[in-house]
């Protein structure tokens, strides 16, 4: 009864919350969950030290959508922004929601 999906986690500076959310949805994700986060990474160059840390966005999507999102990150986020992302396998119950 469980179906396979991909979980993408993206950590990015908080100023990009709106933009990333929109971009993710236009790539075909049907939903996402965001928590506020802090962190450290190899780049660690950052605007808005004042404007609060990172966001951690996670979205459960079919594999083909996950590839589109990764492509998006590669072209529009990784080059300029403090951004981390990873993908893993998850399983879900309600197929039509993800």
């Amino acid at each position: 009864m469980l179906k396979d999906r991909k979980l993408i986690v993206v950590v990015v500076e908080a100023a990009l919350e709106q933009r990333l959310s929109k971009d993710i949805l236009t790539r075909g994700a049907k939903g996402f969950t965001i928590t506020h986060a802090n962190g450290l990474g190899p780049r660690n160059q950052r605007a808005g030290d004042l404007e609060g840390g990172n966001i951690r966005l996670e979205t459960v999507v079919p594999e083909e959508i996950s590839l589109k999102i990764l492509e998006l990150l590669k072209t529009s986020y990784f080059p300029h922004y403090a951004c981390s992302a990873w993908v893993s396998d998850v399983q879900i119950l309600r197929e039509d929601r993800y």
């Binding site: 100023a15 933009r19 160059q45 605007a47 808005g48 030290d49 004042l50 404007e51 922004y81």
Partner: protein, 324 residues
Amino acid sequence: MDILSVAVQNLTSAPVLAFALGLLAAAIKTDLRLPEPIYQAISIYLLLGIGIKGGVALSNAEFQEVGLPILGTLLLGLTVPVLAFFLLKLLKKLSVVDRGALAAHYGSTSLVTFTAAVIFYESVSISVEGYLTTLLAILEIPGIIVGLMLASRGLRREVSWGESFREILTGRSIFLLAGGLVIGFLTKSTGFAGIEFFFVALFPGVLTLFLLELGIVAGRRLKDLKKAGIGLVVFGIVFPLLSGTLGVMTGHLTGLGIGGAATLGVLSASASYIAAPAAVRLALPEASPGIYLTASLGITFPFNLTLGIPIMLEISKFLESAGL
């Protein structure tokens, strides 16, 4: 009061001392921070409160009194970033994009510097026209836009101006300031009486807490000073003196009093570290925050807070006595 004792009184005011304490906290690496939601709430409080106060003042002012200063401020908002952009050519290492980003910051203005100036001037019995807040709101935006446009000459890609403008204009700073102005204008002194306590009496104390946090953030920037180079440090101190003097002159020429002209000088001298970085980060990711945040928050902000505020007052007094 002579200039030295004014400077000392500013340096030993609670907000400035709290800022210094924040610098120290960063230097000895305590884990002290104002929690993020508190920081956000205080920003909202400061912006809305300043807006409302300005609006009440505006409702008591005559139009002819305000017209000229507004015009002068608009001019400042367009001139200062262009000036910054071209003077920065002297710093050979900087890319066009970084120069534009810096221009956006120095063309815009800093709410906290403004507030500290007004509180300080009034504590030494120099009155400041209430509608200076209107000028603050007016000076916030144009400089950012001019800076972004100048920077775009250095970009090899298309810039989506539409999206950028939308993000700048719906940003919370300008929205709360302008919204506060309207609230204050409509509610007038009568309506303001009930909330005066919250927005006036508490103000200096809240600002003290806020400056503690800004000190911590600025302190963390200091470690980037070395990377930034001596040229940037010099710019961060000398340029505000230049743009500040321009501001004071504009104030006197458009009819402001000693305190008002000095405050317009502070506005012009100050560099944004909230609205501008947010806008620049989104529209100009190629620009280096290590440069523009370090300059505006790490150099110019502390300089203005401690020395710029009394210096602008002296310049204003001098121009007044010179009969300008």
